[in-house]
Amino acid sequence: MNILYPSLLALLIPVAQAQEIAPDVLVKSISQEVIAVLKQDKDIQAGNPKKVEELIETKVLPHFNFTRMTRIAMGRNWRVATPEQQKELTGEFRTLLVRTYSTALSNYRDQQIDYKPLRAKPEDVEVTVRSEVKQSGSSQPVAIDYEMEKTPDGWKVYDVKVGGVSLVTTYRDTFSSEVKERGVDGLIKSLAAKNRQGERERAKSGKT
């Protein structure tokens, strides 16, 4: 008798919804997974950036929508770019964001992360997952919010806000003045140069 109830309930819930992980649960579980690895992995603690990048590549990136991020950062210039340029831009911007993110993670020490309860309706297709990071030695926590959208293959992050400020829109002015001065190709070149420089520095020092 008791066994019947759960199975009956399961029948009532549509399959897609049953499989879907709530956005806040997703963010929380990924962060915990990544932090667990950071804490264990000796290579990462010794300052091996390649290892951090690998970790991000496999665990974190699948949950980001980089095309949308690039589109937001480009603003109205997105439409000026050809589909090829859009692809190149997205690729370079992705590399830049990944390196930035891995630098942030390599700095991870003993921050405490608190997740705020999700305020969203079940039918929402865009939500904000809020968290607060408290670092030792500091009296003020930093708010980190993830803007997420619902897609057929789960929830995806399309913007990250630090202290309420969107990292993606922070690029907007730089991008637009670059495009104004040197065109879309010029921007792609600058991004690529920045990425190569980051790579070189990384190779040289091993750690930032």
């Binding site: 949308r68 589109r71 937001i72 480009m74 603003g75 109205r76 997105w78 439409r79 830049l96 964001l97 390196r99 930035t100 630098t103 942030a104 700095n107 003993d110 865009e126 670092q135 030792s136 030695g137 500091s138 009296s139 003020q140 708010a143 959208e149 202290g163 309420g164 400020v165 969107s166 990292l167 829109t169 922070t170 690029y171 907007r172 002015d173 730089t174 991008f175 003045s177 670059e178 104004k180 600058s190 991004l191 920045k194 980051g198 930032t208």
Partner: protein, 239 residues
């Protein structure tokens, strides 16, 4: 003396505003600002950052938190006044409660028991109060050593320093070393963030500027800024 220098630079910068124009409408003083940014960056790289790194390496986290809390506690009084000036009486009351609890139970502010008791720390200053009163931010302005600001926030800062309780501690050497410790303590808390900026920015100057301006706007409106007339960003799904 540093304050007089500040005031003079502010004035100079305001006047210069009429003469120069740059790319970003919020940053008409870009040439001046870029130069000052470069200067600050050099000072930071040569002195402040290395000291902050040393401080972090030598002083255990628990003591650094105590130092950071101590200054943070002194700020709560002025934060309280600013909240009241902005008509946020409950917040102002909470700030005062924080100061009271942490100054006594928290041993001169070294421990932040008030946060554990549910009194949230707020971020206010006179620049934000002016913003709340409807004063526009004015031109973006990079101040020597102090870094990113705006004309409005620069004026606000002049009052903030007068309201800083450290200002009233007797003895010039004592309060100068307290200022220095405060600066180093704040810088230490930003070490990680600044290495991320190095990595992230295509152009560090404009990245910091754009982040800063958005951040201040966000603070003035306590994280609920009215929607800006945004550039169309070609997003079919939203807005």
């Amino acid at each position: 003396m540093a304050k007089r220098l500040c005031a003079e630079l502010l004035l100079a910068a305001t006047l210069a505003g009429c003469a120069t124009t740059g790319g970003n409408p919020a940053d008409p003083l870009e040439p001046f600002n870029r130069a000052m940014f470069g200067f600050n960056d050099a000072v930071d790289g040569a002195v402040i950052k290395p000291v902050a790194k040393g401080y972090r390496a030598v002083v255990p986290g628990i003591i650094r938190t105590g130092v950071s809390n101590f200054f943070s506690n002194l700020e709560d009084v002025w934060i309280s006044v600013n909240n009241v000036l902005q008509g946020k009486f409950q917040e102002g009351f909470e700030d005062f409660g924080r100061f009271f609890i942490n100054s006594t139970l928290g041993v001169a502010g070294i421990f932040d028991f008030a946060s554990d008791m549910g009194f949230q720390k707020h971020n206010e200053d006179f620049g934000q109060t002016l913003g709340r009163w409807g004063v526009g931010s004015g031109a973006y302005l990079v101040l020597p050593i102090l870094g990113p600001s705006t004309v409005r926030d620069g004026f606000g800062f002049l009052l903030d320093t007068k309201a800083d309780l450290v200002f009233y501690i007797d003895g010039v050497p004592v309060h100068n070393s307290l200022y220095a410790t405060h600066k180093i303590s704040d810088r230490t808390n930003l070490l990680d963030a600044s290495s991320v900026v190095e990595e992230a920015a295509l152009d560090k100057y404009s990245f910091v500027r754009d982040y800063w301006l958005q951040r201040r706007r966000n603070l003035v409106y306590d994280s609920n800024p009215p929607r800006e007339p945004e550039e169309p960003d070609d997003e079919p799904t939203k807005k």
